[in-house]
């Protein structure tokens, strides 16, 4: 009997844990949004987070975006060569980068870089009782810790996505001209061909969703980290894994809604 009940009990525990986790994530979102009217009083904290999350991520994104653009263009050329006009290399690269690769890779890179840092920071604050210190001083941690980070993620992830899109297209153009014998004019007209503003907007809309997702999971895993250095390590691992999974799932969901 125990043999049958044990896995059921384990499964039940996991399901209840997952449901309460989702509930807690929505609570974090609710408490953070509740603090929104006070945002103007903490502009310095918001700017600080925007710099930490946005500006500091540009060098890393510079490298990943340029190479992503290059790979996308080389692959498009490899697949299309001899089948369609060179112009379509620019078309394919542009569509791929704006709709999928730009937002997705930016979000995945940021989940690794700033999502894990957020979880580690909150976990370490909790460990050192800094979160309790806010409460004891009658200061709302959601107003001073969560809200500036939420706003920074919400605004900076789309900005970084747009920058990443531009850099990836730049990488595509460089490799086209230098290695694929495609002229600037052909690549440029290819990019324009079949372009729809929705391609760009879809990517940006996705990036808003990804930004909020990384923030919520980073904050949640930081708050729920177990004690000690191992706890912080596990929290950072959990936020990267869960963010990557959620980003891929939400990418599909948003795309399905936008491109019906």
């Amino acid at each position: 009997m125990t043999f049958v009940l044990k896995p059921l009990f384990f499964l039940g525990q996991k399901i209840v844990g997952a449901i309460s986790g989702v509930g807690e994530i929505f609570c974090i979102l609710f408490y953070t949004l509740r603090a929104l009217p006070y945002a103007h009083k903490n502009v310095n904290l918001i700017v600080k987070q925007m710099v930490a999350i946005g500006v500091s991520s540009v060098p890393l994104l510079f490298v990943t975006s340029i190479f992503t653009g290059m790979v996308a263009t080389v692959q498009a050329d490899f697949q299309f060569r001899g089948l369609v006009s060179d112009k379509f290399v620019g078309t394919a690269a542009c569509k791929m980068i704006l709709i999928e690769l730009g937002p997705l890779l930016t979000a995945l890179v940021l989940a690794g870089r700033v999502g894990s840092a957020l979880a580690a920071e909150i976990a370490s604050m909790r460990e050192k009782e800094e979160l309790d210190a806010y409460a004891v001083l009658d200061l709302d941690p959601y107003r001073y810790l969560a809200l500036p980070r939420f706003i920074a993620f919400f605004t900076m992830v789309p900005c970084l996505t747009i920058i990443s899109n531009g850099l990836a297209l730049l990488g595509g153009w460089i490799v086209s001209v230098l290695a694929l014998d495609i002229t600037t004019y052909t690549f440029y007209t290819g990019m324009q061909y079949l372009f729809q503003p929705m391609d760009l907007f879809a990517g940006v809309i996705k990036s808003f969703v990804f930004g909020v997702t990384i923030f919520l999971l980073g904050y949640y895993h930081g708050l729920n980290a177990s004690a000690g250095a191992r706890g912080v390590g596990l929290a950072t691992k959990d936020v990267v894994v869960s963010s990557c999974l959620m980003i891929l799932i939400l990418d599909f969901v948003v795309a399905a809604i936008l491109f019906q």
Partner: protein, 260 residues
């Protein structure tokens, strides 16, 4: 020993039938304790017995599973959000590791709550208050620019104390104030606890297992053992106790007398 007149009938903090479990582990089983206005009550007990848990109940960071916590006439164990905030404004807490905000310098740590709770104060007035608080803890104003990472353990606790008294609380809670400090620095902290009582007239609750500190700062001492307060008395009464568990603890014996 402090020399402040205390009215035994004027109870500031009242704990009645306090019970708290963490999962299947029972930490507090039936805690009853009265803390008088203006006195320094020291709660002693072995590590992990639940002393800090009692402190966190007093300031509303934890809610009891059963029982009642009343602070200055307000029952905070069943308090509404508003009542908890009212009570917290009357209380300050010195955390075991200081819990200073790592991203802010010393001055900002002290000024932060002041600035948020007293928007009517000018920046000059806030800086004056920071200087005053630093003076109370015997630190020169130049310390305001030091980051928490640049401070020694003793300094961190002193700055944390300055932050705790920034809002002029009526009650101060000290969580292991001398743990991890050398005997001389511990004595500096003990003197500060006494000064807080004599200069600011605060009611203090000190949680410690450092008996030198307990005997120096206490008006009364309470011993927590297996989830209950087993003895409360003045320093002299505790020194002369016949309770074998209290005797064992204050003399630092591995076994109780009858077992020796």
């Amino acid at each position: 020993m402090p020399n402040v007149k205390i009215n035994p009938d004027d109870v500031m903090i009242k704990l009645r039938g306090l019970k708290k479990n963490f999962g299947s582990q029972s930490v507090l089983s039936d805690v009853n304790l009265d803390i008088r206005r203006g006195e320094t009550m020291v709660i002693i007990g072995q590590s992990g017995v639940g002393k800090s848990v009692i402190l966190k109940h007093m300031i509303g960071l934890l809610q009891p599973d059963e029982g009642e916590v009343t602070v200055d006439g307000i029952t905070i164990s069943t308090a509404k959000y508003f009542d908890t905030r009212t009570i917290r404004k009357k209380m300050g807490m010195l955390f075991q590791m200081g819990a200073l905000f790592d991203s802010m310098d010393t001055g900002e740590n002290i000024a932060f709550a002041l600035r948020e709770h007293h928007p009517e104060l000018s920046e000059a007035e806030i800086q004056q208050q920071v200087t005053d608080k630093l003076k109370i803890i015997n630190l020169v104003p130049e310390f305001r620019t030091k980051m928490p990472s640049e401070l020694s353990g003793g300094m961190r606790k002193r700055v944390a104390l300055a932050r705790a008294i920034a809002l002029s609380p009526e009650i101060l809670l000290y969580d292991e104030p001398t743990t991890g400090l050398d005997p001389i620095t511990s004595d500096v902290i003990n003197d500060l606890i006494l000064e807080m009582q004599s200069k600011l007239g605060v009611t203090s609750v000190v949680v410690t297992h450092d008996m030198v500190s307990a005997f120096k700062v206490a008006d009364r001492i309470a011993m927590l053992y297996k989830g209950r307060i087993i003895e409360v008395g003045s320093v002299e009464e505790i020194k002369k106790t016949t309770n074998p568990f209290v005797k064992q603890f204050i003399t630092g014996q591995r076994k109780i007398d009858s077992e020796n």
